[in-house]
Symmetry: C2
Subunit: 98 residues, 2 copies
């Protein structure tokens, strides 16, 4: 019926799913904004962001304003992977609502 093996394990985790969803709604997010929105610890957030970056889903931009400020955004690959993931979610919702 469904191929649940297709579910992307990198995205399908509460923390990273939150990050990906936020990144999809805006061009760019700072570390601080993500942290405030998701209420994650520094270590946890950085680890998830690194996992996403290592998989080529997230781009990192480091800037020096008056304070250091790192921003994150989706890569093209990240965006398509996320859309593919959403397609599976849609199928699940559709099946589950019947």
């Amino acid at each position: 019926m469904f191929d649940f093996e297709k579910i992307d394990k990198v995205i399908h985790e509460k923390g990273r799913l939150g990050i990906m969803t936020l990144l999809a709604t805006r061009q760019s997010w700072t570390f601080q904004d993500l942290k405030a929105e998701l209420e994650m610890s520094d270590g946890n957030l950085v680890t998830h962001l690194r996992t996403l970056h290592d998989n080529g889903y997230v781009a990192v931009t480091k800037e020096m304003l008056d304070r250091p400020q790192t921003s994150y955004s989706l890569t093209a690959k990240g965006r398509t992977s996320f859309q593919d993931y959403l397609t599976i979610l849609e199928q699940i919702v559709k099946a589950g609502r019947s």
Copy 2:
């Protein structure tokens, strides 16, 4: 924006999400049918089903036909929890498609 903490960790796991989705499409599934559809090992499938049962999401019916046959179905609690979960998925899809 979203409260990702609301995501039900019992449901939000690839294996159990598969089980719950299948159970939502039919009144009842046998162990063998679930196993064939999800392509899981016996131990893995039983463990997930027990987790779902321990959380009150799944009812178990044991029968003796010519062979032992155990069937699984959603409880009322399981159904509402799953619907709540789907609601969050819908929000994510909606946000991610914008």
